[in-house]
Amino acid sequence: MRIREHPILDFKDKRKKKVTIYYKGQPIEAYEGETIAAALHAAGIRVLNYSRVKKRPRGLFCAIGKCSSCLMTVNGIPNVRTCITLVEDGMVIEENKAELPKNKEGGKKKEIKKVRSDIIVIGGGPAGMMAAISASDTGAKVVLIDENPILGGQLVKQTHKFFGKRSQFAGIRGIKIAEILEEEIRKRDNIDVFLQTSAVGIFQNGNEKLVVGVRNERELIEFYGRAVIVATGAMERTIPFENNDLPGIYGAGAIQTLMNTYGIKPGERCLIVGAGNVGLILAYQLIQAGVKVEAIVEAMPKIGGYFVHAAKVRRLGVPILTRHTIIKAEGKERVERAIVAEIDENWNPIPGTEKVFDVDLIAIAVGLRPSVELLQQAGCQIKYVRELGGYVAIRDEWMETTVRGIFVAGDTAGIEEATTAMLEGKIAGLAASLRLGIADEKWIEEIEKAERELEEFRSGPFGKHILEGIRKLLEGSK
């Protein structure tokens, strides 16, 4: 179901030309600019596939191209991530068939497109965009690649206003910040943007770095540069419970993508697992989209996110049950119910405390883990740092990893905030340019300024564990 009216968002202008796609032979109405998965959801299709062995139904989970639950066969090409692939008129969508398409070109070797720049930024979220802008300001030629069809990363679904200082976009909605940064990028002619382009590997090629990219699942592109900034973000975590693979159980971010980016109502009644900022913010956004939030359950004895976010949904009648967890989802082809129970000090469900919620939607908001696959592949030293959300690359004060010329920024460098991601992106962009000898020394002052702002932002109780995690990374770089 498409959202027509919303207190914050306007979808009228966003829905461009109507197109028709074919799912299992049935015509489905979609709009240009929508992803395949979003269009299928709007048509009420939740089951995208069945698992290979047990034939269990599979639906969307992350909606940002990071997991494999939405892979389908599109125009004969298998394993297409339908959550980040845009609809095209006449597209043929089928359940995923794990067979290679016939090579129509008859095996003829095609000329590979080569793109050259000084700095390659992978990831067009707040960290990557800020890195590209900062590096470009020093005079570097920058290529920015992202596998999504739009720039902005997760900002494009953040309808809430940001915290921090006003000079760091505080008081402005995430969606607006994405627009501001995109505009900054578009007006710099030394930044080249490649959307719908996945970076699949980073290699050393003589004195250069080579990033191998695939555009639109079809075209191979080789990006050459002297430095690479990896700002690939993070991936939603999940937790084990019975039937946690049923369609209708999504990562919190996927629900935000469906309703805030594509204007599709993800369900009617929702249970949220996790009372961190993501879970709390999501609850508010669901209410704004006209979805009833039955409850938020949180295993910890206290709310993990900002109290003000909790107060916002509490006063609209959403119960927040601390020391509770989901123990089971029920339903045939999709979620119909969630069973929740109170847990004891050892996190075991207390018998007799079960509550049943009739919901068609379950949001998992239990945290994120950094996307470090590319860094790992490139040979950067990786370390498990609990405070930063899992495995992260060891790096120095200038965000450079143990492989010279490869930098990190944003959630990839440790799970935090968009505000800190932008500051880290700025440091990485300037540092990369300094290392290449493009930026002159006066830019060091700008790095120091960003470092001071980071320090200030992290100086409160919420920054304490982050600082501890970063200390571990810096230790490893020495």
Binding site: F163, K165, G171, V308, H309, R315, I320, G460
Partner: protein
Amino acid sequence: MNEIPNYLRHGFITVEELFSIIPKPSEERLRKGPVAIPECPQRIPCTPCKEVCPTNAIKMETPNDIPIVDYEKCIGCSLCVQICPGLAFFMVHYIGDKARVTLPHELLPLPKRGESVRLLNRKGEEVGIGKVVSVVPREKTKGDTPIVTVEVPIELAWEVRAIKVVRE
């Protein structure tokens, strides 16, 4: 040690808890005109309220401090209510046996001036009916958040923190 405050267990703060953290404005001040009340008891890195205040009535030494309003300096302009990213600022004003509560309202429909709305407390419970005395739409606010002022019985001044617009 490490006692968890009640508001972090349940997601709402009681009036007693709130005024054990921030001062309560005097009756005299509340009668003089609207005054800003920050319900922001936790140390988070955030400063727009302080930055937007035209009279420097909001004290905050570092960005992670909680905002404390100097009620005598506050002129009731509502800019903090409009800009607060946490929607945690409200204004209260006593008039006769009524109180006017100004609150952010980012939901549809936006009520109209003169309309009767249901009043919700911090737990989302309906505690009465109030009359909307003014509405500032989002285009006219500083922080892209519509704000609504409702008139409520004076005994509900410290209870009502949201409204529900029900149209048959």
